[in-house]
Amino acid sequence: MRVILAEDSTLLREGLVRLLVEEGHEVVAAVGDAVSLMKEVEERMPDMVVVDIRMPPTHTDDGLRAALEIRKRWPQISLLVLSQHVERNYAAQLLASNAERVGYLLKDRVAQVEEFLDALERIHAGGAAIDPEVVRQLVIRTTHGDPLARLTPRERSVLETLAQGHTNTAIAQKLHISLSSVEKNLNTIFDKLDLSHTAGYSRRILAVLRYLES
C-alpha cells in the first residue's frame, strides 16, 4: 500500500520507513510535523497515514487533530494514530465518527514489529486496531454495578480481543477455542451489555467502546 508517515523524531521516522519498505509497502512521503502532513496527503492521496499524536508545532495533539481532519475530508484513507500514553479521550474522538480503517496504538507498540505490521494489515483490510493496553484500561474500569463486572473471565478476554479489532476466526485462534464457542460467548456478552445485534464488527467495536466510555 502507499503510506505517508508523520513522526517528528528523525531516527524513528527513518526506522519506520525502512521497515515498511522491507515489508513491500511504498512510503510516498515521510514528514515531521502536522502542517506538512496535510499538504502531502492532499497532494499524494495515500492509502494509509501513520501519524504520531504529539508533533510540532505545539507538541500537544497536533497529530490527532490532523488525523481527524483527514478522516473528515478523505474518509477513504486508512488511519493509524500513534500515542505516547493511553488517552481514552483520544481513542474515543478517533473512533467516534467511524471505526472503520482506523487504528490507535501506543507508540512503543512499533517496537513489536510483528504486532505493528499486523495492525497495519488489519486496518488496511477495513478493520480496526485498538492497542491492547487501551482496551485493558477500558475493561479494568469495572466498578460496582458496571455491567462488565457481570462478565466471566472467558467472556472478558473475548471482549478484549474483539475490541482490539480481531475477527471471530482470529479470536478463536488467539484464545485457543472453537469458532462456535467464540460466537456463543459474543452473544452472551452482547446480551449482558444490552447491545443490539448490529452487523459489521467495526460497529460492534464502536458500540463496545462507546459503552465502556459511558
Binding site: L12, G15, R18, R54, H59
Partner: protein, 360 residues
C-alpha cells in the same frame, strides 16, 4: 494643641464644603495640605528630640495625615494633662515636706499621704511612658512604612517567590519529560525496531541480519551516552561528591566555546547556594553557546562578605530575553534564596548576567 486648634477651626470652617459632594475633594485637599504642613513640623520634632530617621521619599495618603493629626492632637492634649498632673503632684509633695519640717504632721497622716502620692506618681509615670511609645508608633505609621506594612511587603514577596518556585519546578519537569521523550525513548523504540527487523530478516535475508545487528549495537551505545547526559542535566551529581568548582569545570569541558573561570571562594558554601550558582552558570553558558554567537565566555565567582556573586559574561550579540523560560527559571531559583539576578544584554552585546546569592 496646634493640631487640635487647626482641626477645630479649619475643620469647622470647611465643614459645609466637606459635606457638599461637589466641593468635597477640593476642601479635603486644602484641609490635608495644612495638616501635612503641621505633620511636617511633628516629623521634625521627632527627629530633633528622638533622633527618628524616616524614609526620605515616603509619602503618606491625605487620609493618613489627617488621621495622624487627629490622634496626635488627642494624645498631645492627654500628654499635657498628664505632665500637668505630675507638676501638681510635685507641688503637693513640696507642701507635704513643708508641713513635715514644721512638725505639723503626725506619722499616720504622713504614711497615708506618702502611699497615696506614690501610687499616683506611679500611674502618672506609666501614663507618660505609654504616651511616649504611642507617639513614636503613630509617627512611624504616618511618616514611614509601619511594621505592618513591612510585614505585608515581605509576605507579598514570599508569596510571589513561592509561586515562582512552583512554576520553575514545573518548567523543569516539563524539560526533563521532553528530554526523556524526545531523546531516549525514541532511541529505544528505534533500537527495538532494528532488533525486530533483524529477527524478521533471519528467514528472508540472512546477510542483512548482520548489518542490522551492527546498527542496533551502535544505537544501544548512543542510548547509553544520551542517558548519561540527560541524567547530568537533571542533576549534576558531581556537585555533591566533588563540590561546586569541579562541577563547574565539568560545564566548561562540555561547552564548545573557550571559557575563562575565576573561582575565588575560599570556604564551604551552603548546599542550596552551590546548586543555585551551578545552575546559573550552566544555564547562562548553554544560552551563550546556543543563541548569542559568542566566541568566549568569562565566569567569575567571588565572595563579597556573606554574598556570593556569580558573574557570567559573553562577547556575543546580546538581546537575551529576561522573560524567556530559562532566565525566568533562574530568577525564581535565585529569588527563592533572597538573592538578586541582574541581566544586562543590550542589542549588539555583550551580555552580562550577575547573580547575588546570600550565604547566611
Amino acid at each position: 494643641m496646634l493640631g487640635f486648634l487647626y482641626l477645630l477651626i479649619v475643620g469647622t470652617a470647611m465643614a459645609p464644603f466637606l459635606l457638599w459632594p461637589r466641593t468635597r475633594p477640593g476642601a479635603l485637599a486644602a484641609l490635608a495640605s495644612g495638616a501635612r504642613r503641621l505633620a511636617g513640623l511633628d516629623r521634625a520634632r521627632r527627629f530633633v528630640f528622638f533622633g527618628d530617621r524616616f524614609p526620605e521619599h515616603y509619602k503618606s495618603s491625605d487620609q493618613k495625615v489627617l488621621r495622624y493629626l487627629a490622634i496626635r492632637s488627642y494624645t498631645g492634649m492627654l500628654c499635657t494633662i498628664v505632665v500637668g498632673l505630675l507638676g501638681f503632684g510635685v507641688i503637693l509633695a513640696a507642701v507635704l515636706a513643708m508641713r513635715l519640717l514644721q512638725g505639723r504632721l503626725d506619722l499616720q497622716e504622713l504614711l497615708t499621704q506618702a502611699l497615696l502620692g506614690g501610687v499616683l506618681l506611679f500611674l502618672d509615670v506609666q501614663g507618660i511612658y505609654s504616651l511616649a511609645v504611642l507617639d513614636a508608633r503613630l509617627a512611624r505609621e504616618c511618616f514611614g512604612p509601619s511594621e505592618r506594612e513591612l510585614l505585608r511587603q515581605r509576605i507579598d514577596e514570599l508569596a510571589t517567590s513561592r509561586a515562582a518556585v512552583l512554576q520553575a519546578v514545573d518548567a523543569e519537569r516539563r524539560r526533563i519529560e521532553r528530554d526523556l521523550h524526545d531523546g531516549i525513548q525514541q532511541r529505544l523504540v528505534a533500537l527495538a525496531m532494528l532488533l525486530g527487523r533483524a529477527r524478521r530478516s533471519r528467514g528472508r535475508n540472512p546477510e542483512q541480519v548482520d548489518a542490522l545487528l551492527h546498527q542496533a549495537h551502535q544505537e544501544s551505545q548512543e542510548v547509553i551516552t544520551e542517558l548519561r547526559e540527560a541524567t547530568w542535566r537533571i542533576y549534576p551529581s558531581a556537585l555533591d561528591s566533588l563540590g561546586l568548582k569541579e562541577a563547574l569545570s565539568g560545564v566548561s569541558e562540555r561547552c564548545s566555546l573557550p571559557i575563562r573561570m575565576d573561582f575565588e571562594v575560599d570556604r564551604v558554601l551552603p548546599q542550596t547556594v552551590e546548586t543555585a550558582a551551578y545552575f546559573v552558570v550552566s544555564e547562562c553558558v548553554t544560552n551563550a553557546a546556543k543563541h548569542s554567537g559568542a566566541t568566549a565566555i568569562t565566569i567569575r565567582l567571588a565572595l563579597h562578605g556573606a554574598v556570593l556573586v556569580v558573574r557570567v559574561e559573553d562577547n556575543g550579540t546580546g538581546g537575551a530575553d529576561p522573560s524567556g523560560s530559562g532566565l525566568t527559571g533562574l530568577r525564581s531559583r535565585v529569588s527563592a534564596l533572597d538573592g538578586l539576578l541582574h541581566i544586562d544584554s543590550p542589542l549588539g552585546g555583550p551580555t552580562t548576567i550577575t547573580a547575588e546569592l546570600p550565604c547566611a
